[in-house]
Symmetry: C2
Subunit: 326 residues, 2 copies
DNA sequence: CTGTTAGCGCGTTCAA
DNA sequence: TTGAACGCGCTAACAG
């Protein structure tokens, strides 16, 4: 490359990286021509080895399955990264083994910072702590308590879920079923949305608990809801841990000839747009606006800061959005 | 690190990379202890600079939006990569500008190979060609003709779409609407699923064309279908370019009090599981089994081959799956 | 305006 | 069984 343009490697570096060293127009042209001719692109591994920066952000997600939250988070991150000259590489965790692998990739220095949103317990706390100890700037979306050494974004899902269930109780429903994600339901003690459910019932002296899994995908949700709604002790309400599951429940009810909310009230979590096109429209708890720019800013603040910043915490704002289904 | 364990850097390298050089048990222990104590992880940039391999695969997708196809592709890739000691980094393209950025990241050597599935025309052909010219092993899912220098996976969507529309014609429907993705509908000449639609109609001498966008997300699909079905010239059938859009159309029909398939027949594309829980079940064209292991194998064959392999081509197998909605 | 040189952190030879 | 020394491709500092 350098010899084809008949210049030194340093000059090539200066031309291609566009730094402000003065370069003769003719020399620059020779370099650019040679680069085009050879299809030359600088090796990023060498570059970041030298510069000690990759200009990349790692986005760590449970799956590439397109949970609505992840989608918005990803688009906001990509946009803001773009504007700042960073690229984004996404790592999917899927399971515990690969969580370890993903952390190792980050420890290996693939990115200058990380935005981490992993639900469930695939990502062990000590892995996260070890990564944070590296000094890697990171923002973690989690409600767990053990997360330290990085910014944390919390979601008031327990309170919001309790509010949803209390809303159902206020409507006179007593037999209320919970349809949750596997990672919440199959666990020794209730957490998250399930905890909100049990808390609300307890607070109002309702003894009956109907806890099912099925919120993880639409098909299972439909089947679970169908089972619930065809049982002799049909619930008067279903609180689903996701809007997608709640929407499946609405369909299940309608397919059984039940009226929503007459025969069964349904509330979901997340406030996705699709809740506006169901009949009736879906009641839900979640953010009013889907905006993660504040979360992403946390990360870029850290990246642009000279000295390490103190750990910050954001609590997202969720509200009960009452629509037709409850 | 090396000095803490009181050994040379070479010994550290040997211990941590676990190659077969004999190392005294006591030395190995010293190294491992020091590594744990320091939270040391080898720098991957330096490693891959030296080894000229990253042990990573790049997965390039249009969005992280979780199109069902991408999900299956991603899980199969992750599984097979895992088994072979590779990690996967995902790059989202979103738009033309970032397509260029994603290609640059790959050219910069972030991965040893790439699996590329970008719909629409965000990813220009010359970018792909330039990348292929690098010698980077890659597999591209595309029906375009200009793709060269890499393995190509094709989908018989034109023929399958035509088959779907002919099936509707055979059922006596004449006024058939097409609900497509923006990237296919807003284009000078028909391609892909839209081309299948027009071809079938032409072949059977049907003049009427009802072409709408709206298949890109469920909300738009619902609204588009509602508009179509409330118009005075209500179509007798809707062929939707995605199952998700088709399912929204079924719901739109039901919400309008129309019977499916009595008043309107509906067919989708993709054969997603969710088509089994609609009332009626969704007719669709797509793969019978969702399995991308053959596609992923193409890539690993290339990675493991000593000398460059000739470009191969896979044509995926799609069939019309007739269920209740048509 | 441009070239020379010294590392960035690792893996690999060769010598001990 | 271990260590010393070189170089992967690049950027930053300095020399010219």
């Amino acid at each position: 490359m350098a010899e084809l343009a008949n210049v030194s490697v340093a000059t090539v570096s200066y031309v291609l990286s566009g730094r402000d060293r003065p370069v003769a127009a003719e020399t620059r042209k020779r370099v650019l021509d040679a680069a085009r001719q050879l299809g030359y692109t600088p090796n990023q591994a060498a570059r970041s080895l030298r510069k000690r920066r990759t200009q990349r952000i790692g986005l760590v997600l449970s799956t590439l399955g397109g949970v609505p939250t992840d989608q918005r988070l990803a688009t906001d991150l990509h946009e803001m990264a773009d504007a700042r000259g960073y690229s984004v590489v996404t790592l999917a965790v899927y399971n515990e083994a690969r969580a370890k692998a993903a952390i190792d990739v980050l420890r290996g220095g693939i990115a200058d910072g990380a935005l981490i949103n992993v639900v469930g317990d695939h990502l062990a706390h000590d892995l996260l702590a070890g990564l944070a100890a590296t000094g890697l700037p990171m923002v973690v979306l989690s409600n767990d308590s053990g997360v330290e050494g990085c910014d944390v974004v919390r979601t008031p899902e327990v309170a919001a879920s309790a509010e949803a269930v209390e809303h159902l109780l206020a409507g006179g429903r007593r037999r209320i079923a919970f349809m949750g994600h596997r990672h919440e339901v199959y666990r020794d003690r209730p957490t998250g949305r399930l905890l909100g459910y049990t808390t609300a019932l307890e607070r109002h002296g309702v003894a009956q608990r109907i806890v099912t899994a099925g919120a993880d995908d639409r098909v299972t949700a439909y089947q679970t809801a169908t089972d619930l709604l065809s049982s002799p002790e049909r619930p008067e309400a279903i609180f689903a841990a996701s809007d997608r599951a709640a929407i499946s429940a609405i369909w299940a009810a309608r397919d059984l000839g039940l009226s929503v909310p007459g025969d069964v009230a349904i509330v979901g979590v997340g406030n996705i747009d699709e809740g506006l096109i169901t009949q009736p429209q879906l009641s839900t708890v979640g953010p009013l606006r889907h905006d993660y720019t504040d979360v992403v800013s946390l990360l870029f603040d850290r990246l642009q800061a000279e000295e390490p910043l103190p750990a910050r915490e954001i609590v997202r704002s969720w509200t009960l959005i009452r629509r037709g289904s409850s």
